[in-house]
């Protein structure tokens, strides 16, 4: 009995993950190789053409998603790092208050948060409408329905996920190590570049992973903020599945997206060094 305990404990969760995570992936792989339509049904034909068709038709959106996701991730890193740095080293006994304030947006639904952000950017909204009223902006000035609006929305929505892991890594840096560097006549810049920055890299790695993947695959920001000319791959997959009911094409697209993201993560991990990856994964 005692030897069976761990298996009995793990069984329901394990079954759930097997049936609803592993089997669906296999189902999606199988559907992506079928041909047919929603009315007559689909049949397995092992047609790779779903992949080539999907890629040739939607490569623009795929590349755009990677570009927007990448730009947003870079923006999050540049905007978020100084915040994480300041809270970790200078936050004092108020550290948890600052972290709580950074997490405040998560008490509002993701969809609603994005729409409210769109509110702020609206052509005649409280920000630009007022500025236009004062004559500070030309009447045809707009931000909504541009690439900038979508990238800013992605940056806004995932910024805390970039700040938190960097904060965790910086928080573990012993301030005495930095003092030691300065005692040994390193300038503030050199102490940061040679001591603090390398020690924070596992946090940067984790932050980039936690933000790039969801931001690239996100359909909501493009739909709410992007107008019609900034469609991302997430929107295409959604409409192909749900409106056009072209399950094989949509499955092929989903697989392609996942493959691209996996390759991206792998290349990124190689560039940054395996040690950092293992360290980040261990946390």
């Amino acid at each position: 009995m005692k030897r069976l305990t761990p298996y009995l404990l793990a069984l329901p969760g394990w079954m759930w993950l097997a049936i609803f995570l592993v089997v669906p992936m296999a189902a999606m792989a199988s559907v992506s190789l079928q041909t047919g339509n929603a009315i007559d049904g689909f049949a397995m034909t092992f047609s790779v053409s779903n992949y080539t068709d999907a890629l040739s038709r939607y490569s623009t959106q795929l590349v755009r998603s990677l570009a927007y996701g990448g730009a947003a991730t870079l923006a999050m890193l540049l905007i978020g790092y100084p915040v994480a740095y300041w809270i970790a080293f200078k936050g004092g006994h108020r550290k948890s208050m600052y972290l709580f304030l950074l997490l405040l947006p998560f008490f509002v639904s993701f969809v609603l948060r994005t729409i409210s952000w769109g509110f702020l950017l609206a052509d005649d909204g409280i920000l630009f409408g007022t500025l236009k009223g004062w004559g500070l902006l030309p009447a045809d000035f707009h931000v909504l329905a541009t690439a900038f609006a979508v990238i800013a929305g992605l940056t806004y929505n995932w910024l805390p996920f970039m700040i938190l892991p960097i904060y965790v890594a910086l928080e573990r840096v012993d301030p005495r190590v930095v003092e030691a560097a300065q005692d040994l006549y390193a300038s503030r810049t050199a102490a940061f570049r040679r001591v603090v920055l390398p020690l924070s890299l596992p946090g940067v790695f984790a932050g980039v992973l936690m933000t790039f993947v969801p931001a690239t695959a996100d359909p909501v920001n493009a739909q709410v903020l992007g107008g019609t000319s900034n469609t991302m791959i997430g929107n295409i997959i959604q409409t192909t599945y749900l409106t056009n009911l072209q399950y094989p094409t949509a499955s092929a697209l989903s697989f392609t997206l996942m493959a691209v993201l996996l390759v991206g993560i792998f290349v990124y991990a190689r560039v940054l060094g395996t040690e950092n990856v293992l360290e980040a994964a261990a946390r």
Binding site: F20, M28, F107, V108, L159
Partner: protein, 267 residues
């Protein structure tokens, strides 16, 4: 350059960074302020983007749009159901992974990690592929299945983190004093891991009530709160949505603060 001037420059840099941190906090909070504010907007036109005066009308007519009310109730039911299921099987899985060495532990750990790192879009799409292949109709049940799937790993990880800090000699002592395995679990193990279980439950509830992407694939004709909001973007979001968002925000913040205060008392 003397040491003193370096230090003064450092002080200035710190002040700038301090102000910058508050600027970022203000940026992150500004859409919330807008959401709360426009729940009080006495709007006359169809769109709710221009301030037209203060009113409490939308609070009085909170449940005036029946589809929206249904959607919110659906979201709450699904969140409660999926949280209960997730907490039970996630706690069991967390206990197994944190306490025991067993065959297949590595594979299970990998599956837990894979469920966290799969993009929501791919998760939703693959679940729909399964349900379509199996000819399963999509409704509140399939939404609940999906929500349990993406919350499970988070509950497992939080419980596991708590379990590994637990001293095994406590349970041994209980057994030595004649407690049954179930008695040991209920009176020793469960109270000790309770903070982890509670945190996991709150996380599962929050993830479920907030989810749009996965739900949009497996909902069939059932509409949840986020789905309803996205569906009404084109025609204009009614102020009732702002009010509901404000109330959910308020309740969430209150629970978080109460939790933090309670944790401080205990410490």
């Amino acid at each position: 350059m003397t040491r003193l001037s370096t230090r003064m420059r450092g002080k200035l840099g710190d002040r700038l960074l301090h102000a910058y941190t508050w600027l970022i906090i203000a940026w992150l909070s500004s859409p919330i302020a807008v959401m709360i504010l426009f729940g009080f907007n006495d709007k006359k036109s169809k769109s709710n983007t221009r301030w037209q005066g203060f009113t409490l009308r939308w609070y009085q007519e909170l449940f005036g749009i029946s589809d929206l009310t249904t959607a919110l109730l659906n979201s709450i039911y699904i969140a409660v159901a999926s949280t209960v299921v997730t907490v039970v099987i996630g706690t069991m899985l967390g206990l197994a992974l944190g306490r025991h060495r067993f065959k297949g532990r590595g594979v299970t750990n990998f599956l837990v990690f894979a469920a966290i790192s799969t993009p929501e879009l791919v998760m939703g799409a693959s679940l729909l592929s399964l349900f379509v292949s199996a000819n399963l109709p999509r409704d509140a049940a399939t939404i609940t299945i999906a929500h349990v799937l993406f919350s499970l790993s988070f509950v497992t990880v939080t419980v596991r983190a708590r379990v590994v800090t637990l001293d095994p000699s406590l349970e041994e002592a209980a057994r030595d004093l004649g407690a049954t395995p179930w008695g040991t679990f209920r009176q020793v193990t469960l109270p000790a891991i309770m903070p982890g279980v509670a945190a996991g439950a709150m996380l599962a509830f929050a993830l479920s009530i907030d989810d749009y992407v996965v739900t949009s694939f497996v909902n069939g004709s059932t509409i949840t709160f986020p789905l309803w909001i996205i569906g009404s973007v084109k025609t204009g979001i009614p102020p009732q949505v702002n009010v509901m968002g404000t109330l959910i925000f308020g309740i969430g913040v209150l629970i978080a603060i109460a939790n933090a205060v309670a944790a401080r008392r205990r410490a």
